[in-house]
């Protein structure tokens, strides 16, 4: 079973933003460093004068995998499914999902990505902007 989520005070604003359809990250007021996952102090200067910023929703693809094995019963009906490692254009890196209908075979590292939040499941989903311009079959729902 998926472990019941423990959302602590540090992470709560990040989760609330996702639930409202936004990707957010922390930025340090002292040294301008930006990061995820949420934490209590800036890992660059160790200060605690940070604030939340909304990500503009663009990223690049660092790497991706496709699970053929379900490591949890809740994933059995999802295999095979992709998992992406992405870098926001603002710098922070995170794990994300791939939009339904995206062609796995066309994924390339460093590909430009456009992000959308599946607010119901608090998931960040990506699609390649190249395939948008090529006009390939994509779900038509509008982001944000």
């Amino acid at each position: 079973m998926v472990v019941a989520e423990q959302i602590d005070a540090i992470r709560a604003p990040y989760e609330e933003a996702l639930a409202e359809g936004r990707v957010s990250y922390q930025r340090c007021a002292d040294c301008a460093n930006a990061w995820l996952p949420p934490r209590g102090a800036c890992p660059a200067c160790l200060g605690e004068a940070w604030y939340w910023q909304r990500a503009k929703g663009s990223a690049r693809l660092i790497s991706w995998v496709v699970y053929h094995r379900a490591y949890d019963p809740s994933l059995e009906d999802r295999v095979p499914y992709p998992v992406l490692l992405i870098e926001l254009s603002e710098g922070p890196r995170l794990i994300a999902g791939l939009e339904a209908g995206e062609d796995l075979a066309s994924l390339r590292i460093e590909a430009e990505l456009e992000l959308r939040v599946d607010a119901e499941h608090r998931r960040v989903l990506a699609r390649t902007t190249e395939s948008n311009t090529e006009g390939e079959a994509l779900p038509k729902e509008e982001e944000n």
Partner: protein
């Protein structure tokens, strides 16, 4: 420090499925065999360093092992470094001996994930990531493998070449958990676990234990240890916990760890006769060989092709089968095989081997440690 301490004895249990054997008993069996191999009485031991069982972390586990051994050590305990723990603890034991804090150290590791729980290898990478299905050890290594394949053109068959070499060595080792040699086609056709990694890219899950006795070269001489193997160099390196936070996915802490070990040993990659490279997943061998400087960054794929890492090749690796074939145990078996190579007793012996390099690494390449032994 170079050559000041030695691996005086090695011991291990059977590897594979060992129902009914708890980790304390397995540790004791491996230590008993290592002490017998060194010809050292138990009561001479004044330090006990223990790799905690990955499958079931227990607080103060090192003291439980010392108690099971009937010892009251001066120094020791458990280091939480995953698969890098064993060489890290051997290094720490060597430093403690040099600093006069102890004289004879047992370094031991046991686990029983095969008959017990494998949960430690299969859970989600944090609550936030479970919603994406980002679970388990293979997925995290697959993320590194994909980047390496895309960035440098590393191929499925190049990963396969690592599995082929390790499985051939394992097939020659009567103690190995899996004694079935494979070809590149078998590897290619083995089922995808987490694409791009296939079943035959992934290490075994095995029960068992292995231990070494560490002491000063001087003490080994006076105690009449039959076949001490000198420690020439060691080093360590560490990086982020979260894989997404890694500065560069295709570079590991082996770079820093290896550079320090080579510096201490006064050797370079060209002077290594045989290597035991931590092979929890095939891709790790390619990355580690690059980071150690056996080849340039990105050339690990071509390097492992064409039999270069097989017995009889330019750099034979994992001559007892490694994690892919001898036992999935995280790392100590590689140290034992280095000792056998230097003694000339490996089942895949490299003729005249005078230097052996061993890599250990933990987590998802979070931690790294390197050991160089030689005559």
């Amino acid at each position: 420090m170079r050559g000041a301490t030695v691996l005086a004895g090695i011991g291990h249990t059977a590897y594979g499925k060992l129902p009914g054997r708890d980790t304390l008993t397995l540790n004791v069996e491996a230590c008993r065999n290592a002490l017998a191999d060194a010809g050292i009485e138990k009561d001479a031991v004044d330090a006990v360093f223990v790799k905690y069982p990955t499958s079931r972390f227990e607080s103060m586990y090192g003291q439980r092992v010392a108690e099971a051994l009937g010892l009251q050590p001066a120094i020791g305990g458990v280091w939480d470094q995953g698969g890098a723990t064993n060489i890290s603890m051997i290094s720490f034991a060597a430093m403690a001996i040099a600093a006069g804090q102890c004289e004879v150290a047992l370094v031991t590791a046991a686990d029983n994930p095969r008959t017990g729980t494998r949960q430690a290898y299969e859970r989600a990478w944090g609550d936030e990531y479970s919603r994406y299905g980002w679970f388990g050890t293979p997925g995290a290594y697959a993320m590194i493998a994909r980047r390496h394949m895309e960035e440098f053109g590393t191929s499925v068959d190049q990963l396969g070449a690592v599995a082929v070499a390790c499985r051939a060595n394992g097939a020659r080792n009567p103690d190995a958990h899996l004694r079935v040699a494979i070809g590149l086609d078998d590897h290619r056709e083995s089922p995808l676990v987490v694409d791009p990694l296939r079943r035959d890219d992934c290490c075994l899950v095995s029960d068992g234990a292995a231990a070494v006795v560490v002491m000063s070269a001087e003490r080994a001489r006076s105690a009449g240890v039959a076949e001490p193997v000198p420690i020439l160099g060691f080093g360590a390196g560490q990086t982020s916990w979260d894989v997404p936070q890694r500065p560069r996915l295709t570079e590991s802490a082996a770079r820093r760890s290896g550079a320090k070990a080579f510096e201490m040993a006064g050797l370079g990659p060209a002077e290594i006769d045989v290597a035991q490279i931590y092979d929890c997943f095939t891709i790790v061998v390619c990355l580690t060989l690059e980071d150690y400087g056996f080849c340039a960054k990105g050339e690990g794929g071509p390097f492992v092709e064409g039999g270069r890492i097989e017995l009889g090749g330019e750099l034979p690796i994992n001559t007892s089968g490694g994690l892919l074939s001898e036992t999935g145990m995280p790392g100590m078996q590689l140290v034992l095989e280095a000792v056998r190579q230097l003694r000339g007793t490996s089942t895949s012996q490299v003729p005249g081997a005078a230097t052996c390099l061993v890599s250990n690494q933990g987590g998802i390449m979070h931690t790294h440690s390197t050991l160089i032994v030689g005559g």
